[in-house]
Symmetry: C2
Subunit: 360 residues, 2 copies
């Protein structure tokens, strides 16, 4: 074989030393952290991480906003890098491949959800960080790190055509917006609106435009207009402007709602055309208040969407490579992550921070 | 021609005397009422009404619950009868035909909604009662009456195979439940739940069973179990029984919610399987409170549905004729309508009152 050194037939007895940045306790700043990962088993690959995107979920986990965090916590689930070792039974990837990892690193592979290629709903799915590893009491550590070990089935192929640092955010922000746009068959002849122009929203605009839809950005901030149009949106509506808002009532076939702060769902549902669907991917703490009248008079739907399955994530990456779509990013050094969290919270980023792991 | 007397070339100068029962003012008992209808124009048919179903909307209109009632009000939009005269340009129907009229008697025929066969969303749609007539300041009067005049395009063909009095409720309760079941492609291999076993719910059970789905009735009333199974449901769940409710969490592909009283949408959304949809056809006064988490973690949808278009109503009537589906009814005399309203409000009817117009 050409690469005998990198091939593995048995899990090593010792573990693999790794380094990264972690929150050592809830809401604390991230600090340098040395830890161990499992050595790659026969079905695993070992990846040297080149870049990792900074998702708002990372900050939610550091703060334990969803009540499920464990510490030390190494965040990061928008991972791209290159394979440096492969297990003996690995068939899908080889050493040197450019690859990505998103929000999931394992699942049972046997349940209905897994069989339907919706591993994100597997009751035994393993998240990329803060989750118990399969068949082990160890917790998973994410992509704010120099390397990662992962079952080959959860490793995505990444085209070499695109700048790798700009691909990283596709692994979460990209698939989270691509999946509902695809499921509802967004395309030519359809009027699509995107609520919010952050990390998710800016990807939604690019993808929906590439799918051929007529795309409007809905925002409370008038100053985002130029950026929205630059990203490819055809229209921009300041939702606080009553005249502008009235002009788009009952017009959209599909609305993608990327807002995580509390907001008035009913107002936006009013902008749906008959038979239209609004999909929320953000998770406000407050429930939506939706009068049945709004849904009934117009055959309208309010739906939710969670990331996407592994096969669909690969489909999204291939689509983005074909259409030359990547994220707009600010590349940062690992040591600047705490400042980046503060800026991200103030929506002061266009549109995604990505950590350069060479800086670790 | 064989029927020269019944054919009309011009609208008559005089109007057509009609009689019925009306609420003369808000919330008053219905009383005998004589009025005039337009004489049939070239595109109209005149129908001798045989039976009219009693829909909960009729009572809402009498009470002006939705703020749009005018008086005198002659309710009734579940109308079946026989054609006694046709306008000269009528091509779809002939004298002697057994026909029906539902919630709509006219629309603009030119807007997007009309062109899409969704006349129920035409901004200039004319409801069967309490609506301004097209090209006339007169109000429409409904089916609690001996006859009605209607544009031929809003007149449905009714099979002679089925008992006519049991067909009447199909014109509203039937199409209101058929339309969402069809739109979401309910069929074999799918688990469907129906919330509520009233006029709408009992039709939903029959239609969903005929479409081949596995049908569960969800009810707060244990005593409805035998009836639910008798109607064809495969399962029955008492939703107040925690063990029973827990047993159906995350199981249904589709839920049809026929409840008009305030209820906990989130509880029922929890019973949807991944990618499932719950459609509400009832109109509670209180908004639904729906956490985004419920929709996102499961790719679930909450939708509304309003009646159905004319073409779809015909499709539903043909489907019911083929499958031998009719409503379970209590036939009443016109004079008993006020008592029937009281019983209907107490859910004391299996499952629809139908007025025998021979009693008028």
């Amino acid at each position: 074989m050409s690469l005998p050194v990198e091939n593995i037939t048995e899990p090593f007895a010792t573990k693999l030393p790794a380094k990264g940045f972690a929150a050592m306790a809830v809401s604390e700043d991230l600090v340098p952290f040395s830890f161990e990962r499992r050595n790659p088993g026969p079905h695993d690959v070992q990846i040297e991480i080149a870049y990792c995107g900074v998702c708002h979920s990372d900050l939610h986990f550091v703060r334990n906003d969803w009540g499920m965090s464990t510490f030390p916590l190494v965040p990061g689930h928008e991972i791209v890098g290159r394979i440096v070792r492969v297990g003996d039974h690995v068939t899908k990837h080889k050493v040197g491949d450019t690859v990505g990892i998103g929000c999931l690193v394992d699942s049972c592979q046997e349940c209905d959800a897994c069989k339907d290629d919706q591993e994100q709903f597997c009751p035994n799915g393993v998240m990329t960080y803060g989750s118990k590893e399969k068949d082990s009491p160890s917790m998973t550590y994410g992509g704010y790190s120099n390397q990662i070990v992962c079952n080959e089935n959860f490793v995505l192929k990444v085209s070499n055509k695109l700048p790798l640092e700009k691909v990283a955010p596709l692994l979460c922000a990209g698939i989270t917006t691509y999946s509902p746009l695809r499921r509802w068959k967004v395309g030519p002849g359809q009027k699509v609106a995107v609520i919010g122009l952050g990390g998710l929203g800016h990807m939604a605009v690019k993808i929906a435009v590439a799918m051929g839809a007529d795309v409007t950005v809905l925002s409370t901030h008038p100053h985002k207009k130029a950026d929205a149009l630059h990203l490819g949106a055809h229209n921009f509506i300041v939702t606080r402007d009553e005249v502008q808002a009235a002009s788009v009532m009952n017009t959209f076939d599909f609305i993608l709602d990327t807002i995580s702060a509390a907001h008035d769902y009913n107002f936006y549902l009013g902008m749906l055309r008959r038979n239209g669907t609004m999909v929320c991917v953000g998770l406000p703490g407050e429930p939506a208040h939706v009068p049945a009248f709004t849904l009934v008079f117009g055959n309208k739907s309010l739906a939710g969407s969670l990331i996407g399955g592994i096969a669909e994530t690969q489909e999204m990456l291939d689509f983005c490579a074909e259409k030359n779509i990547t994220a707009d990013i600010e590349l940062i050094a690992m040591k600047d992550i705490n400042e980046a969290f503060i800026r991200m919270e103030n929506a002061d980023v266009k549109y995604r921070f990505v950590i350069d792991m060479a800086s670790l």
